[in-house]
């Protein structure tokens, strides 16, 4: 019985990653979008403290109570804060996934790939692997940004402070991966670039929020977008504590399971679709 990490599975995966990567390496739009995205999140990471300082400064001028300034970057809160901020930009990776999957349909290169000897499942796997790696790279950027910012803004630094709440980093990976899987599924089903982007936006901003509004909370918490957003809840700050507002500062197992479940479902839908249609 072959182990999932056995040589031949690994070789296949590396081969598929290599093939897929060729499609992006020489694409100008890929590099522009990717660099823009990574640059943007790093800038946001670096600039958010300054932004927050401005706000508390201004608020402080007008309020009777003194508003404490707080550091976004101190361990252990930096993990949560940056992961939360990065979550706003998951639209970039999703966009990249949509563009490159729908391209395979517009250029009909999915047909060419399959005719040349790739199975439909291998094609799907190559896209899932691409998303996995892309999400991994984003997460690594998050990790090092938080590490560096945390290191320079925490005094004193203890090991336990650093490791505490690091769980938000893999949580971010899961959020990105799941959302990209949703985008990938829509791209495979709709096949056209503009329409896919529209459907993704429609679902994210309109359909699910509407459904969530109509359903009671106990049920709506199981919806995919909600689960993804809920993975990393709004981080607490001393400001909010002042007002008695307390958001979750941990990652709930339910949300993790839901995201894993939905990723599975999205991939499964594409698998089923590929098995039963002409391409």
């Amino acid at each position: 019985m072959k182990n999932i990490f056995s040589n031949s599975y690994l070789k296949t995966m590396i081969r598929l990653i290599k093939i897929d990567f060729r499609k992006y390496f020489y694409s100008r739009s890929f590099w522009i979008l990717t660099s823009l995205y990574l640059l943007l999140i790093v800038l946001v990471f670096a600039g958010s403290q300054g932004f927050m300082n401005k706000i508390t400064e201004n608020a402080g001028k007008n309020s009777p109570i003194s508003i404490p300034s707080f550091s976004l970057y101190s361990f252990p809160y930096v993990w949560h804060n940056l992961a939360f901020l990065a979550g706003f930009f998951k639209i970039f990776p999703a966009l990249i996934v949509v563009i490159f999957v729908t391209n395979e349909f517009s250029y009909k290169t999915i047909r060419q790939n399959v005719m040349s000897g790739m199975s439909r499942n291998e094609f799907l796997l190559s896209k899932v692997l691409f998303v996995f790696i892309f999400s991994l790279i984003s997460t690594v950027v998050l990790f090092f940004s938080a590490l560096i910012l945390g290191w320079t803004h925490t005094n004193p630094i203890t090991a336990s402070l650093v490791y505490d709440k690091m769980v938000f980093v893999p949580a971010y990976f899961l959020e990105l991966f799941t959302f990209s899987m949703l985008a990938m599924m829509i791209a495979f089903l709709v096949k056209k670039q503009g329409l896919s982007i529209g459907m993704l936006a429609l679902y994210y901003y309109v359909i699910e929020p509407l459904v969530a509004y109509k359903l009671p909370d106990e049920i709506s918490q199981y919806l995919p977008v909600k689960a993804m957003g809920h993975l990393i809840d709004i981080p607490n700050s001393s400001l909010m504590k002042l007002f008695g507002v307390n958001f979750r500062d941990y990652v709930s197992a339910q949300d993790v399971l839901l995201c894993l479940f939905y990723s599975f479902v999205f991939i499964g839908v594409v698998y089923f679709f590929l098995k039963h249609s002409d391409i």
Partner: protein, 303 residues
């Protein structure tokens, strides 16, 4: 079986109410240059699409090299289906590298296939800058990567000018001479006649005819005759059993003879009978004629 490259049994496919393929069965042997003929919508492209796992069949089976179909087997089959499909922002070499990786073929082969189709000079340019003829040639180059045993070409001369068509024809003949089995779907009957060894004629998803091209072409030849004394000519010929058909068209008498009569034999016979020809033309059966006859028979409500 080593000689049977492809076997199709009872293949059917419908698109909604439209029955594109109706229980098609046929065999292709190694080394054949097999022509798929048929009007638009007859099921040629659907059949080829099913064989390449692009289109899903409703029922029936097919086997490549005697084995059940799989993506591994497709690595030994090269195909150009309807249009050349490539990434427009990549160059010929970059596009071919992707295909080479899929097929498990070393990159050194890329030079060879580009040479074969004479595209070496433009290999670094982006695909979107290529002319249609170049795109078709690149598609054939891609199909030839990895030394396939079968080459499937669906309308490879689509949209090409006469020079392009001749180039592709030469290329096909060159490739065929290396022993590769070729399946060629085409409208251009005279091209098929020049190049193919066997043909299958499809119409409305069904098989009208399957056999060798020689079978089709050797058949009765027809002759156009004229003589000073037309009446004597007609009379002389009408008594002979080896004259199967006779029709007068203006000043010309068209006759069909059985297989074994040649023009010189006919000439000799007539002169012995005192009929001297002023006009003798041999009209060989063409695939086109046969094809059109076949199709009109198929559509004839009295049939």
């Amino acid at each position: 079986m080593d000689t049977e490259i492809l076997e199709i049994q009872g293949l059917s496919k419908s698109y909604g109410h439209l029955k594109a393929l109706d229980s098609l069965s046929l065999k292709v042997e190694r080394g054949n240059i097999f022509g798929f003929l048929g009007p638009n919508g007859s099921g040629k492209t659907t059949t080829l699409g099913i064989l390449l796992d692009i289109i899903l069949k409703d029922s029936g089976t097919y086997k490549w090299f005697g084995e059940a179909p799989s993506s591994q087997i497709r690595k030994k089959i090269g195909a150009l289906l309807e249009q050349p499909l490539f990434y427009p922002y990549l160059s010929a070499v970059q596009n071919l590298k992707i295909i080479a990786d899929i097929r498990g073929v070393p990159y050194s082969e890329i030079e060879n296939v580009l040479k074969l189709v004479e595209l070496e000079g433009r290999k670094k340019g982006k695909f979107k800058t290529y002319s249609l003829g170049m795109k078709q040639r690149l598609a054939i180059a891609a199909a030839m990567l990895g030394n396939p045993e079968v080459l499937i070409l669906d309308e490879p001369t689509n949209g090409l000018d006469p020079r392009g068509i001749a180039d592709i024809r030469d290329l096909i003949i060159r490739i065929a001479s290396t022993g590769i089995t070729i399946i060629l779907a085409s409208h251009l009957l005279d091209e098929v006649e020049k190049v193919c060894s066997h043909v299958v004629v499809l119409d409305h998803g069904g098989k009208l005819f399957s056999g060798s091209v020689d079978e089709v072409l050797s058949g009765t030849a027809s002759f156009e005759l004229a003589a000073d004394d037309m009446e004597l000519l007609e009379k002389t010929l009408s008594f002979e059993p080896w004259v199967t058909k006779m029709a007068k068209e203006g000043q010309i008498l068209k006759v069909h003879l059985t297989n074994d009569r040649s023009a010189s034999q006919l000439n000799k016979f007539l002169s012995q009978k005192g009929v001297y020809l002023t006009h003798l033309t041999v009209r060989n059966k063409t695939l086109e004629k046969y094809f059109l006859e076949l199709l009109s028979e198929n559509h004839d409500p009295t049939n």
